[in-house]
């Protein structure tokens, strides 16, 4: 057991760090509002790509570096440490790109992958729909082949991160309603600037809009933009979702809130409270702190497994379950310590940080798989508990819809 870098890791870290330091001005500041939503973000990613720090684990022939997960983790850690804003095309790199790598044609790979890594094109993932959230395979967006071999797509997607900035998306559609719901799906690459695509921001309870709704009104997609076979979309989507797990699978990063930040906030306020209250605050902070430490070190175990060449399984979702709970409790503690300010949206110093956080966290237990779905997955795939009986597997999608489901 060893938390130190190997000599190779140390050399890599030094290289990354010195690059980030040398390019500090061009890379911008995390927390800068402009960091994520404009041309600056694309330029930043291109700069990092050209230096070899984007798509570290991607194969060389896909434009990547063919590096190790640990090298990628070190890049992430160093960017974090240097306060460099995250990559704009994270979803593209983590989910869309791998799907193209596994299922795309040579032509698609040629056209898309390198541009994606350089953020010349930003990508989004178009799976969820208003009527199919946890039950993804119940989606209704329809793709019909017309006489000239193109596909015409109509329907609505939702919860699409970055759709408003995206050039392309991977789009899961229903091409055959006469078979069971998992069997009639087909995946495409869609041009987000094509006629008939409308993106609308979806305002959340926190008042911000990290997600979008995307409407497809008879959008034409050439058959050459299909990913995988007709009717094979579910299998293609599983590639995407497994890649997502690799991207988001723990690594010990904190969800939504840094426990250290909360501790500093508490340290600045707790002394003013009566001793009894202080003890209650310490008790809550202590429990949440232990949870956060548990998540951090469990993340290191995952990273170790990755670096040993093991793909993280569904057990990686445990970090999300523990993390959303810890984050909720930390935010609650932080907001309560605002005292009189806690009933307002802005505190006395004009900051909205803790209140915003409080309002973002309920979504964290839902987005990216509700906690209920994650518990099912861990229960069945990790603990080996039996699944629930399913009534929707051997029915055609058409009949399922007709039955009200």
């Amino acid at each position: 057991m060893d938390f130190d870098d190997t000599p190779e890791e140390a050399a890599w870290r030094a290289e990354v760090r010195s690059f980030l330091e040398a390019n500090r001005d061009r890379l911008g500041e995390r927390g800068d509002r402009r960091s994520f939503d404009d041309v600056v973000a694309r330029e930043r990613q291109a700069l990092l790509y050209d230096a070899g720090y984007v798509g570290v684990t991607w194969p060389v022939e896909a434009g990547g570096r063919g590096g190790t997960p640990m090298q990628q983790a070190i890049v992430d850690q160093e960017m974090d440490r240097a306060g460099v804003p995250g990559l704009i095309n994270l979803i593209g790199i983590g989910m869309c790109g791998p799907t193209v790598i596994y299922h795309g044609s040579d032509d698609q790979k040629e056209r898309y992958l390198k541009r994606l890594l350089r953020a010349e094109d930003v990508w989004c993932q178009l799976f969820s729909e208003p009527a199919s959230g946890s039950d993804l395979a119940a989606l209704r967006t329809k793709a019909v082949r017309d006489t000239d071999g193109n596909w015409r797509v109509s329907g609505q997607k939702v919860w699409t991160t970055l759709a408003h900035l995206s050039d392309y998306g991977i789009l899961l559609t229903r091409t055959d309603p006469d078979v069971a719901k998992h069997r009639g799906l087909t995946m495409f690459v869609v041009d987000m600037k094509a006629p008939g695509v409308t993106v609308r921001p979806l305002k959340q309870m926190s008042g911000t809009a990290e997600f979008n709704e995307v409407f497809f009104d008879d959008v034409v997609i050439p058959d050459s933009e299909r990913l995988g076979d007709v009717g094979d979309g579910w299998r293609v989507a599983l590639t995407t979702l497994m890649s997502e797990r690799l991207t988001l699978g723990g690594g010990g990063t904190e969800i939504g809130v840094s426990v250290g930040q909360v501790a500093r906030h508490v340290a600045g306020r707790v002394a003013g409270l009566p001793e009894g209250r202080q003890a209650l605050v310490r008790q809550e902070l202590g429990r949440a702190y232990v949870a956060s430490l548990g998540i951090r070190y469990t993340g290191y175990r995952l990273l170790t497994a990755l670096s040993q060449g093991n793909l993280p399984g569904p057990e990686a979702s445990a970090g999300k379950l523990a993390g959303t709970k810890a984050a909720r409790d930390l935010a609650d503690l932080a907001v309560r310590l605002l005292g009189d300010d806690a009933v307002y949206a802005v505190d006395a110093e004009g900051s909205t940080g803790w209140q915003d956080l409080q309002a973002v966290l309920p979504g964290m237990a839902i987005a990216g798989g509700t906690n209920e779905v994650l518990r099912n997955i861990i229960g069945e795939r990790v603990l080996g508990l039996p699944p629930e009986p399913r009534a929707d597997k051997d029915v055609t999608f058409k009949d399922l819809v007709a039955s009200g489901a």
Binding site: S134, P362, A391, A405
Partner: protein, 327 residues
């Protein structure tokens, strides 16, 4: 023993529900959040006109001459639709001004826009021109300077208040404390209504929404979460009724009962609102859905009139004092 509403109270609840459902709504709360200038319905004037605000004001002063339990019945309905201003304010003012027939009349006819000033942010301060506060052991009424701030829950009219000079009204600290206990009771009644309504919305949605071929309300994870809210709501209802009944019938029990109701309401409403969001999945944390409006109410209400931690501490302190006596 008869521990239930009577027919008259049930009629009152039904009338209040008709009025409030027609004049207030979560949608209006959202509008107030979108535009800081929008008034929260039904507003002082409509509420006064309806007669519901002044239920506990004696008839001779133009009020309803009803009990705090009657007001609690109405407050539950107000909580369901997130109405403003709070009946807590009227309930406290009616106690504090009980010897001042003229001002009671103004409270009842809507011409007195009053707020009661505790330490910290003041409920219904927005739009108020007259304030009641405690100075030493005296209750004082007078003007004050209101500093509005960006609200978390716009229906609560919270603002910072710096009271100006004022005149003493009768009663003193003892009455102040009693008014606060009555206020906590009505706050809990509004919390009961909000929690019960949040539960209803969640139940209705999970009956309709399907996943994997069946309604999501058939899954135990969803079902049991809603049941746990139901259990809390029903326990809270009992505590609210007890506390409201105690005001007029068992004043000795009021400190305990009102603290218990306050604490239970904070817990139940917070759990109800968080569950409401969770069972809705993605749609539940959108701006356009009502869930976050109940959630905002929960996050704010739990901190009003002493927070839940204070309330539970008070309950324990009272329980321990009683136990010491019994030892």
């Amino acid at each position: 023993m008869y521990f239930d509403l009577d027919d008259e109270q049930r009629d009152l609840a039904s009338a209040a529900r008709d009025f409030l459902a027609g004049s207030a709504s979560p949608a209006a709360a959202r509008a107030a959040l979108d535009s800081a200038t929008a008034d929260v319905p039904p507003g002082r004037l409509e509420l006064a006109k309806s007669g519901f605000a002044a239920i506990t004001v004696p008839e001779r002063a133009g009020g309803g001459g009803g009990t705090v339990l009657d007001l609690a019945v109405v407050a539950e309905q107000a909580g369901r639709v997130l109405a403003g201003p709070s009946l807590v304010t009227y309930a406290r003012a009616a106690v504090l001004l009980q010897d001042d027939e003229q001002r009671l009349g103004a409270l009842a006819d809507g011409s007195l826009a009053v707020a009661v000033v505790d330490d910290g942010p003041v409920l219904d301060a927005v739009g108020a021109d007259t304030f009641l506060w405690l100075r030493g052991d005296e209750v004082v009424i007078g003007g004050g300077t209101v500093t509005a701030r960006e609200p978390l829950d716009p229906t609560r009219g919270l603002a910072d208040v710096a009271p100006a000079d004022g005149e003493t009204v009768a009663g003193g600290r003892e009455r102040w404390d009693r008014a606060r206990q009555v206020g906590r009771t009505i706050l809990a009644a509004e919390g009961l209504g909000a929690a019960a309504r949040a539960l209803e919305i969640g139940v209705a949605y999970t009956k309709e929404r399907h996943a994997f071929g069946r309604p999501i309300g058939s899954y135990q994870a969803v079902k049991h979460a809603l049941v746990d809210v139901y259990v809390q709501v029903e326990q809270l209802r009992s505590l609210v009724w007890w506390a409201a009944w105690a005001v007029d019938n068992a004043p000795d029990e009021l400190p305990l009962a009102s603290a218990a109701a306050k604490g239970a309401a904070a817990t139940a409403l917070e759990q109800a609102a968080e569950t409401l969001i969770q069972v809705h999945g993605g749609i539940g944390f959108t701006w356009e859905h009502d869930a976050h409006l109940y959630w905002r109410r929960a996050k704010v209400d739990r901190l009003l009139l002493g927070d839940d931690v204070d309330a539970f501490d008070e309950v324990a302190t009272l329980a321990l004092a009683a136990a010491e006596e019994a030892r």
